[in-house]
């Protein structure tokens, strides 16, 4: 039973516009959330994270928002660039060992 869900398998956005990726989780014990980005034929790379004690974390063009009451987080990419075209995975952790539960991923395509 997947505890982290990304319900949108794909997202198409124009270059320069905002990309919003959504992620829902069911386990209220998760205390740390991460986003990974994956290009074809490469392993996922870490993008941004947020602790459950915060509701927002920003890093350049990337901002993650956490709504604990709704068990929902989102990743905003502003402005979107062609190099952002990739699969984005949401992940959640509930222990200090760093074991992660991943969502199914969202394929983002940024068009010129």
């Amino acid at each position: 039973d997947q505890q982290v869900k990304q319900n949108s398998p794909s997202l198409s956005v124009q270059e320069g516009r905002i990309s919003i990726l959504n992620c829902d989780y069911t386990n209220s014990m998760f205390d740390y959330f991460l986003w990974y980005k994956k290009y074809p034929a490469e392993g996922p790379t870490f993008l941004i994270s947020i602790s459950s004690i915060k509701d927002k974390n920003e890093d350049g063009r990337f901002t993650v928002f956490l709504n604990k009451s709704a068990k929902h987080l989102s990743l905003h990419i502003v402005p979107s660039q062609p190099g952002d075209s990739a699969v984005y995975f949401c992940a959640a952790s509930l222990d200090s060992w760093g074991k992660l539960q991943f969502g199914a991923g969202t394929q983002v395509v940024v068009t010129p």
Binding site: G43, P44, S96, W97, G98, Q101, A104
Partner: protein, 117 residues
């Protein structure tokens, strides 16, 4: 430049064969992980290791075993490969404790695409 390497990018095996997938990291990380990635399911944890000779089952350990004889190397073993083990296998490593980004993120290898016929 930090690196996690996996022994093969593509592998084709027959049903019933014993399969070894090797992973090496050069970051002196304590933790190492094996995942499989399948369409619509994301990445699922098979096994992880937090120290040499230590291992813990992940979410889907059935049909797999692991070995960690040296800190830098973590092997995934399919004792008797089956067609439902056809998948992309990803190895990752991380350090313990907290880094500048908070809980230490995992660094992934490029993956091994395994096909079992």
């Amino acid at each position: 430049d930090v690196k996690v390497t996996q022994s093969s990018r593509y592998l084709v095996k027959r049903t019933g064969e014993k399969v070894f997938l090797e992973c090496v990291q050069d970051m002196d990380h304590e933790n190492m992980f094996w995942y499989r990635q399948d369409p619509g399911l994301g990445l699922r944890l098979i096994y992880f290791s937090y120290d040499v000779k230590m291992k813990e089952k992940g979410d889907i350990p059935e049909g797999y075993s692991v070995s960690r004889e040296k800190k830098e190397r973590f092997s995934l073993i399919l004792e008797s490969a089956s067609t439902n083990q056809t998948s992309m296998y990803l190895c990752a490593s991380s350090s313990v404790g907290f880094g500048t980004s908070g809980r230490n993120e995992q660094f992934f290898g490029p993956g091994t695409r395994l096909t079992v016929l």
